[in-house]
């Protein structure tokens, strides 16, 4: 008889009882995970809905095309969103090439020794440095030492420093996901390290690199402390000089040296006013800032999806 020499833990009813108990833990985890995730999402949704409700009366074309004003109902975010866009442009242009280059060096070129180990630890640590510290550094270095003043260039460089570690870490992650067999295939045909990087590693990790870039910019767009530290104006009624001019060579970089304000500072300014009417402005600006961030993140997800679909190891 089979039943006679079968261990008690191994008979069918024991197996079934044990299995249903083990599957229960599976279910518990699903419920806990779902609850926690929904809580996060609900908090964000409530926050966003609250901002939209409070700011509702202020949404409209005028809000985007008006400068800040003493009168709440006439005040707009023109200077702020233009400033934010330009600062983000400078940040992206500075942080992405440097960050990607650093990541490529660390992943593809650097020998594995104590020196690169120290660099790696420091890059990771830099991501955790409070942003106000970057502000102080930038105030001393960019504003005074390099004499950039309280300009878009100084703010862009500061935020570029701030997001550099994020870009580096994300790019390294993306580069590492390119299988080694692909590198071997290219090296086997006689490619140099640079050719392997430029023809294969970088193109195949573009999705990850762009995602890292946008995550970094999403962080930078909401930063207030370092921008205040370097002395951004909070009330501003003019735009930086246009980057496109009517005379040759049609492109001007004078805007880099102009004073500016950004969305979070504009919000901060309105929130700190005693007049209740300005609270609606702050809420509306907050909703727009949040929408901008969500849009950027959505864009990152879309890019990642597109590249993943194209390249499938």
């Amino acid at each position: 008889m089979r039943a006679a020499n079968i261990a008690s833990y191994n008979n069918a009813s024991a197996l079934r009882a044990g299995l249903s108990r083990r599957k229960m833990f599976d279910q518990i985890f699903v419920i806990v995970g779902l609850t926690v995730m929904l809580m996060c999402l609900i908090v964000l949704a409530i926050l966003f809905a609250d901002l939209v409700r409070d700011g509702a009366p202020r949404f409209g074309w005028d809000f985007f095309t008006n400068f800040a004003s003493r009168h709440a109902e006439r005040a707009g975010i023109l200077a702020a969103w233009v400033g934010t866009s330009l600062v983000m442009l400078v940040t992206a242009v500075c942080a992405v090439p440097v960050g990607v280059a650093a990541a490529i060096y660390l992943e593809e070129y650097a020998p594995k020794n104590w020196f690169t180990a120290i660099i790696e630890i420091n890059v990771t640590n830099l991501a955790g440095v409070p942003s106000i510290v970057y502000g102080l550094l930038a105030l001393g270095l960019f504003v005074y030492q390099f004499d950039l003043g309280q300009s878009i260039a100084a703010a862009g460089l500061t935020l570029a420093l701030l997001i550099l570690p994020i870009v580096i870490v994300a790019t390294r992650e993306a580069i590492r996901s390119v299988p080694n067999s692909i590198r071997e295939a290219a090296y086997g045909l006689g490619a140099t390290r640079w050719e392997v990087t430029k023809d294969h590693v970088l193109p195949y990790s573009t999705g990850g690199v762009l995602t890292g870039m946008i995550l970094g910019l999403s962080r930078a767009i909401g930063e207030t402390a370092p921008i205040i530290t370097i002395g951004a104006l909070s009330f501003i009624a003019f735009l930086p000089q246009s980057p496109i001019t009517s005379e040759f060579p049609f492109i001007s970089f004078k805007w880099l040296h102009d004073p500016f304000t950004v969305m979070p500072i504009q919000m901060f300014n309105w929130v700190s006013r005693p007049d209740q009417a300005f609270q609606a402005n702050a809420a509306a600006a907050g909703a727009i800032l949040l929408a901008m961030t969500l849009l950027m993140n959505g864009f990152a997800i879309w890019i990642r999806y597109r590249f993943r679909k194209k390249i499938n190891w």
């Binding site: 020998p111 692909i182 295939a185 290219a186 086997g188 006689g190 390249i311």
Partner: protein, 296 residues
């Protein structure tokens, strides 16, 4: 040293006479391979000669005094149990080890006819890789179009002319017996191919740059029997154009495709001989045990 190879250059009388009589290409030296007293002296025309090759990963000596000729336009199979150093040996030929830190070669692999020592200190590994192609264990096409996969080696060599590229790509794909299957979809992604097609694409990619030696590192271990048969057939055809060196775990495969076989064990060469001799009448006990499946 496991065996005694007698190397005969053109300078030494008899061999030079032999080679000028039988072979129109005097540039490749003829090497006598070991014989026991029951057989005639036979000679092979060597594309490359490995002489006292040692290879080190850091302090670990992975290859020990390997000495073996690689026959020109023939298939040489490397067999032996896992970890015996077959792949390590194969990767010496195109200096793949140079991509890892802390590796070191001793001895020489002399490539004929120009007497280039492939593992010499002054030799650029990239030049070596441009002259010696490799097909890997797992098919590893680039996630690009079929055309771009094959054209990549040519592009690295600075070929920009569209007509030349198209011609060479077609030639390579025909050489790899893949042309008829992919000629209508050259611009499609290589990743849409089946495993066997991918591996033949990798062979085409290596063939496109007309390598002098083609290295195969267990090229069929990830393929089903039908795809394997196609690759094996292809290797037998390739023998006419290129010197082939193949690492395989499959005894039948070695017996089917190769002309010469080297049996390795623990980083040493145990026996090297014609494949028929190795599989019918090996001179070493260890070889016989391995081939008959007694260990490994």
């Amino acid at each position: 040293m496991v065996m005694d190879l007698q190397m005969q250059n053109e300078a030494s009388g008899r061999a030079a006479v032999d080679s000028s009589k039988q072979e129109p290409k005097p540039a490749t030296p003829r090497i006598a391979i070991p014989v026991d007293d029951t057989r005639q002296v036979r000679a092979l025309s060597a594309k490359a000669v490995v002489d006292n090759l040692n290879f080190y990963y850091g302090q670990h000596r992975a290859l020990k005094d390997l000495t073996i000729p690689i026959a020109d336009k023939q298939v040489t199979a490397l067999i032996g149990p896992s970890g015996c150093g077959k792949s390590t040996f194969l990767r010496c030929f195109n200096r793949m080890h140079d991509l890892q830190p802390d590796t070191r070669y001793e001895g020489s692999i002399t490539l004929h006819p120009d007497n280039l020592n492939l593992v010499g200190a002054g030799v650029d590994p990239i030049e070596v890789r441009m002259r010696i192609g490799m097909v890997f264990q797992k098919p590893n096409p680039f996630p690009k179009s079929i055309f771009e996969n094959v054209a990549y080696g040519l592009r690295l060599r600075g070929v920009r002319n569209r007509v030349t590229l198209a011609e060479e790509v077609e030639k390579a794909l025909r050489g790899a017996a893949l042309w008829d299957e992919v000629k209508d979809r050259l611009q499609n992604s290589a990743l849409a191919l089946s495993g066997g097609q991918m591996q033949r694409l990798c062979i085409a990619r290596a063939l496109a740059t007309t390598p002098e030696i083609l290295l195969f590192d267990e090229p069929t271990s990830a393929l089903d029997p039908i795809a394997t048969a196609k690759i094996e057939e292809l290797i037998s055809i390739l023998r006419d154009q290129v010197t082939v060196l193949i690492v395989t775990h499959n005894m039948q495969q070695a017996a089917r495709v190769s002309d010469y076989t080297a049996f390795m064990y623990l980083g040493e060469l145990i026996e090297f001989d014609e494949t028929t001799k190795i599989f019918t009448n090996p001179s070493k006990k260890a070889t016989e045990d391995y081939i008959t499946g007694r260990y490994g």
